[in-house]
């Protein structure tokens, strides 16, 4: 290596290298085409496996000349092919090489070359294109900018095993968005690539399979088409199942499992289909085992998390398959204690994958625990699980933090865990910290988890309150993201449930009435519902009602009127009527309704509504207003009688719905007493 040499000597060596490199470039300009060809061939032999040489040639401007020769119609096929081969070789070097090549507009030139009738030239171009496109530095869009490229690629699939390998590899690397999927789909990629799954070449089989995994990912249209595709008379799903057999290469098993997972998630295959339950799921669990490479374990766990996410039966099966929960605990042991300084390579490898492994494990735990209480219990009982989540919440990697909070969220759906492990490990602390400053996706998960932690039976509720969470939640309700607004207001709603006056006033103060009423006109119905829920929780117990109505009565009544008049769902109206019923329960607050004839007319209207739920809520409201034992009940009864409520109650006491009937009768009794 040059670095071992003394300074001056090194320079001379370098200049020598550059000199010889220049010689190669110079020969490309020879007037004799035969000599040019020989020059290109010599260059090819010189650059193979020599990154230094490749960089030199690029610096010396070999690329434009090679591209020129490649594009010249006067060049022989042989010369053009050799040029493409050299360019392909240059592309095999460093990422910088690729950048230089792309900057020299190599892609359009090579794509142009694909129109040649010469198959070996086409293969050389495709090979180079493949190398360029699979590099992360190449913009994928370059493949799609010319609309004729994809159809031509599809046509070239029939040319040779090599064209098949390169084209499928390009597709599988360059299909990154739903738009890409659609473009490929519309040009018949599925029908043309499917036969390649039975190709005689293992490489072609593998790349074709990868194409299907990227095409089917979160794509219903593709997935639905795939289930009906036959390959040599065999359904594609069966081909995939065959590719998951345990003696097949791991990469093939894993990719086939991905295809089936995506098809299943897109609804093309039922979750109880044996290809999923007995084949895909066990295959993915196997991919999580210690025997697999770290990359495979990451992909396996992520795919499995995706597969089981919506289906509790799959979650149950996965949770007992091959000790998966314990297997995942192993994901946290990297870098392992074995990988010490002595094995620096291993340590480096471990470190590189440690984050990925942890986030994959958290994600899978999150999926597994999202529905079943037993599984959640088993997860929290896995060695050091809660500690791992807690430390995961404050990891530097956002991916890990997000996955950890997802996992925590999944577990927080368990009443038992909220009461025990969550409290024992004070998970609210890192969670609160996470909420201070995090990207939206983390915030959504964290705030959603916080909602659960603020449920009234959660022992963490008190310490969280004391940590000044109200300000934070109020700020969330001002977010542009509807999900964050919902979570913020939801958490406040949970917090206000049976809270003491101080907390309630703090919420109202912090939120600000203006903002509160703005939330009542939020475009997201979920936000509206939770805000009404918050109001309802705030307006509970008589002193609280009177106090709040005393300070904000006017606005609240206005808001209620607005909602009752507006176009809203039954649930929203029901919630609003319940708020009104709470107001009617107040001592002084009652008057706000009694003096509002318009409101009374509305109540009357809803008592006669076709929906029982609303009738019930409205009747409850009236019942509160005419309740005996309270000051001024006589006047209110009289007034309401005049307005014809008694007749309505009479009618409702004949109602078929037993609840409504009872409620009406109870109200009637107030008059009789």
């Amino acid at each position: 290596m040059a670095c071992l040499l003394e300074g001056p000597l090194r320079i001379s060596v370098l200049s020598e290298v550059t000199a010889t490199s220049r010689h190669y470039v110079d020969r490309l300009f020879d007037p004799d085409p035969q000599k040019v060809l020989q020059g290109v061939i010599d260059m090819k032999n010189a650059v193979i496996g020599n990154n230094k040489q490749k960089a030199n040639l690029i610096v010396l401007g070999a690329v434009p000349r090679l591209l020129y020769l490649l594009q010249q119609s006067s060049s022989s096929d042989m010369l053009r092919t050799e040029c493409a081969v050299v360019l392909g070789s240059l592309a095999m070097g460093t990422e910088n090489n690729i950048k230089s090549l792309v900057d020299c507009h190599i892609i359009p030139a090579l794509l142009q070359g694909l129109l040649s009738p010469n198959v070996s030239f086409i293969e050389a171009c495709l090979r180079c294109l493949r190398t360029v496109f699979i590099s992360p530095v190449t913009p994928v869009q370059l493949l799609y900018s010319d609309l004729t490229v994809i159809p031509h690629f599809i046509c070239l699939l029939s040319q040779s095993l090599h064209t098949q390998e390169y084209i499928t590899q390009i597709f599988s690397h360059c299909c990154k968005t739903p738009d890409h999927q659609t473009v490929l789909f519309n040009h018949g990629a599925i029908q043309n690539i499917a036969p390649l799954l039975n190709s005689s070449s293992p490489k072609v089989r593998m790349q074709a399979l990868k194409c299907f995994s990227v095409l089917a990912y979160e794509n219903t249209q593709v997935s639905m088409t795939l289930v009906n595709v036959l390959v040599d008379g065999e359904p594609l799903t069966q081909v995939f199942v065959r590719m998951m057999q345990r003696d097949k290469p791991i990469e093939m098993q894993l990719t086939a499992a991905k295809c089936l997972t995506y098809m299943c998630r897109a609804g093309a295959i039922r979750t109880d289909d044996s290809s999923i339950v007995l084949k895909t799921l066990p295959c993915l669990v196997r991919m999580c085992s210690k025997d697999r490479l770290l990359e495979e374990r990451v992909e396996g766990a992520e795919t499995l998390a995706f597969l089981v996410e919506p289906d509790v039966d799959l979650q149950r099966i996965a949770s007992v398959t091959d000790h998966l929960l314990a297997m995942l605990a192993d994901y946290f042991k990297y870098p392992s204690s074995v990988s010490t300084i002595a094995d620096i390579k291993r340590l480096d490898h471990d470190l590189k994958h440690a984050h990925e492994l942890r986030q994959a494990a958290f994600r899978l735990y999150a999926s597994l625990g999202s529905n079943d209480e037993d599984i959640r219990k088993k997860i929290t009982e896995t060695e050091n699980m809660m500690d791992r989540i807690v430390s995961g919440l404050s990891e530097s990697s956002i991916k890990v933090r997000l996955a950890a909070v997802r996992c925590l969220h999944s577990l927080s759906r368990s009443v038992q865990q909220l009461r025990t492990s969550f409290h024992d490990h004070a998970v609210w602390k890192p969670l609160m910290k996470l909420l201070q400053n995090a990207p939206d996706e983390v915030l959504i998960m964290a705030s959603s988890t916080l909602c659960n932690l603020l449920l009234e039976f959660s022992p963490s509720k008190e310490p969280i309150l004391e940590s000044g969470v109200i300000e934070l939640l109020c700020s969330l309700t001002q977010s542009d993201s509807p999900a964050l607004r919902v979570n913020g207001i939801w958490a406040l709603m949970n917090m206000a449930f049976q809270a003491d006056q101080k907390v309630k006033m703090e919420i109202v103060r912090s939120l600000g009435t203006d903002h509160l009423f703005r939330l009542l006109s939020d475009p997201d119905p979920n936000v509206l519902m939770k805000t009404l829920g918050l109001l309802r929780n705030l307006l509970s117990t008589r002193p609280h009602i009177d106090q709040l109505m005393g300070s904000h009565g006017k606005q609240i009544m206005q808001a209620v009127t607005l909602i009752l008049e507006g176009e809203h769902s039954i649930e929203v109206k029901d919630q609003t009527l319940c708020i009104l019923a709470n107001i009617a329960d107040g001592n002084t607050a009652k008057e706000l309704i009694m003096t509002n004839d318009d409101m009374l007319q509305k109540i009357k209207y809803y008592m006669g509504h076709s929906h029982v739920k609303l009738q019930l809520a409205a009747t409850f409201c009236i019942s509160n207003l005419i309740w005996n034992e309270e000051d001024g009940s006589q006047e209110r009864q009289d007034k309401l009688r005049e307005m014809g409520f008694v007749d309505i109650l009479h009618k409702l006491s004949q109602a078929t719905d037993p609840n409504l009937c009872d409620r009406a009768k109870t109200a009637m009794q107030q008059y009789l007493a």
Binding site: Q245, R246, D247, L278, P282, I317, V320, T321, D322, H323
Partner: protein
């Protein structure tokens, strides 16, 4: 295959059960091909003898029910299968369906060694292992269980898989693997179930039905693992030596069997030297050809002429040859009787063998290579289907073998032998086969040298295609034809080509005609007399040998067998008729070939066959020392 089932016999009349029995045998054969059931029978049912009294068996000894009080753990009861799990299974699997969980569902499924107390659930005692339904715990020779898997109950199917390669065990529930339960298992465990409360009923599936869990998929993983382990076996520094060793093996194999032209071509291509003189190879080939054609007398003459002293020093071999000569006289094939024959004894000549037999590598005879004496039974050649075809090829054959410019009287032959098929069909022992099917081996890889490119033993392909012969028969695809000659012969795959017509100056009699009727010595009176005279000479030789070397029971038996043919009016259809089968010439032919080679100080067995025999033997030894990987390291898997 022997029916190891005790209770199976009374039910033989039931077609459904026979069908199930058949299914079971088929499945077991497929799952555990390496198991030799004569040595180590597979479990097929629960043992009515090896159980606690609280256990009741029914349904062909597959259903187990509890018939005790079930008050407490002292009332637990177990039953073992009829046989322990043979190590040669590699991976063993059985399933148990919970028909009813009974009162409490205290069921245990697992394994135990012989002699473990049956008044217990599996797992509680030493050398006993179990997975229990009530708590889902695994019990590893201990009264306290470890959390292992889910609980199981009525309707569930629990599987138990023993991996005899790494001595672990895992269970399955309804087709899902639950992960390793036990490690470091001892050998010779029996499938075991235990029950403890009234009403508990379980059904076993030892292969009677398809399994819920895809065990074959699991096996395939281990097969691939073992194969890759073999393929990646480190050979370290000796990498370069392997090629030479392999080339030598191939070359010596070709030489041994007298494939002269192929051997020469191989030597030329690989730049190696053949140890034996090419003329010597041809001589041997010529002699073998004579023996295989049934012309033993000529073979003896040729041997005496070419290798003087050889037979004198091997009186046993000479006697064997003479006995065979007598048999061939009965057959009408030997030249001493043929010269009397009014018509060509063509029927007997259509022996479909190659000039030299090569051992068969079929699965049908696993002991084939273990001893040298009985190994070469499969022939390695093909008889051209009909005369026209032969004639059409004649010019090309002569050119192919032009190097061996033979004298008019000497045997001319083609060296175009070819791929030694390993897919040889099982030797069907059934008798009275009217026709013989001769399959001309398909020359699958006429242009590749499998062996010379292989870098070590595991990839050795025994196929030696005759790339160097320009013989047009190379193109022959697999085809079957019957020549309607030899009865009682078995169909088998031949390969290589054998132009016996050249030697035998075939007349135009059709095959069918020639075999229409068979008579002693071709039905010729003079020939019969010559035969009887020869018989006397043979008797005399035997007596002489007895005087010289003492009594030899083998000789006596051979002589008796040969002479007894005369006792039947139709020797071809008599209890001793087997001797007349041209296939019987192979062993004597091989013995003669080996003797000649030995006399030339060359190995009497080709090293390739020796290595093959050793490998086969080694794998069998592995089974006996309980190394489960033998199941997936079978020699057959590597013979393509």
């Amino acid at each position: 295959m022997a029916f190891a089932l005790g209770a199976g016999s009374p039910l033989l009349g039931d077609p459904a059960l026979n069908y199930q029995e058949h299914e079971l045998n088929e499945r077991l054969k497929r799952l555990y091909p390496a198991v030799n059931e004569e040595e180590t029978p597979l479990p097929r049912s629960w043992s009515p003898k090896d159980k606690y009294s609280y256990i009741g068996l029914s349904q062909n000894n597959l259903r187990v029910h509890y018939k005790g009080h079930g008050k407490n753990h002292k009332d637990a009861a177990s039953v073992r299968a009829t046989h322990p799990i043979p190590a040669a299974c590699g991976i063993y699997y059985f399933e148990v369906k919970i028909v009813s969980k009974g009162r409490d569902g205290y069921m245990g499924i697992g394994l135990s060694a012989q002699g473990v107390n049956m008044n217990r659930l599996p797992g509680w005692d030493k050398h006993s292992y179990g997975y229990h339904g009530d708590d889902g715990h695994s019990f590893c020779s201990s009264g306290t269980g470890q959390p292992y898997g889910p609980t199981f109950t009525t309707g569930d199917v629990i599987g138990c898989c023993v991996n005899l390669i790494n001595n672990t065990c895992f269970y399955t529930k309804n087709g899902h693997s639950l992960g390793v339960a036990f490690t470091d298992l001892p050998p010779n465990l029996y499938p075991t179930v235990g029950l403890q409360t009234p009403g508990e009923i379980v059904d076993a599936n030892f292969g009677q039905q398809p399994f819920v869990f895809d065990i074959e998929d699991y096996m395939s993983e281990w097969r691939a693992k073992i194969h890759s382990m073999i393929a990646r076996f480190p050979i370290g520094e000796r990498l370069g030596e392997w090629q030479a060793v392999l080339q030598n093996m191939v070359s010596s194999y070709l030489v041994h069997h007298g494939y002269c032209a192929t051997a020469t071509a191989f030597a030329r291509a690989t730049e190696t030297i053949i140890q034996e003189d090419p003329n010597s190879i041809k001589n041997r080939q010529r002699i073998q050809k004579l023996v295989l054609a049934g012309r033993v007398g000529e073979a003896i003459d040729a041997t005496q002429q070419l290798y003087p002293g050889l037979l004198e020093h091997n009186p046993n071999l000479l006697f064997m040859l003479k006995c065979r000569q007598f048999v061939e006289m009965v057959n009408g094939t030997d030249s001493e009787v043929r010269c009397f024959s009014v018509r060509s004894p063509k029927s007997q000549d259509s022996y479909p063998g190659s000039p030299s037999p090569s051992p068969r590598h079929g699965a049908n005879n696993p002991h084939l290579h273990s001893t040298g004496a009985d190994s070469p039974t499969c022939s390695n050649g093909v008889t051209p289907p009909n005369k026209t075809k032969t004639h059409s090829k004649y010019p090309s054959i002569s050119s192919a073998s032009s190097s061996s410019s033979s004298s008019p009287s000497s045997v001319n032959y083609s060296e175009s032998n070819s791929t030694d098929s390993t897919k040889s069909q099982p030797h069907s022992g059934t008798s009275n086969q009217e026709t013989r099917c001769v399959t001309i081996c398909r020359l699958t890889r006429p242009s590749t040298w499998c062996v010379s490119t292989a870098c070590h033993f595991t990839t050795v392909k025994l196929s030696v295609p005759c790339v160097f012969c320009s013989d047009s028969e190379m193109e022959i695809e697999a085809e079957h034809y019957s020549n309607g000659v030899a009865e009682n012969s078995s169909s088998r795959i031949m390969n290589g080509t054998y132009k016996h017509q050249e030697i035998l100056q075939v007349d135009d009699n059709s095959l069918v005609e020639s075999c229409a009727s068979k008579q002693f010595c071709g039905g010729n009176q003079a020939a019969t007399e010559r035969m009887i005279q020869f018989g006397r000479e043979l008797q005399a030789l035997n007596e002489q040998l007895c005087r010289q070397y003492g009594k030899n029971t083998m000789h006596k038996k051979m002589l008796q067998d040969a002479f007894s043919l005369l006792a039947y009016s139709d020797p071809w259809d008599c209890p001793m008729g087997q001797q007349l089968d041209p296939m019987q010439r192979e062993s004597i032919c091989s013995a003669l070939n080996s003797a000649i080679l030995e006399s030339q100080n060359l190995p009497k067995q080709p090293p390739l066959m020796l290595a093959l025999g050793q490998a086969t033997e080694c794998v069998q030894l592995m089974a006996r020392v309980r190394s489960g990987s033998c199941s997936f390291a079978r020699v057959d898997n590597f013979l393509h």
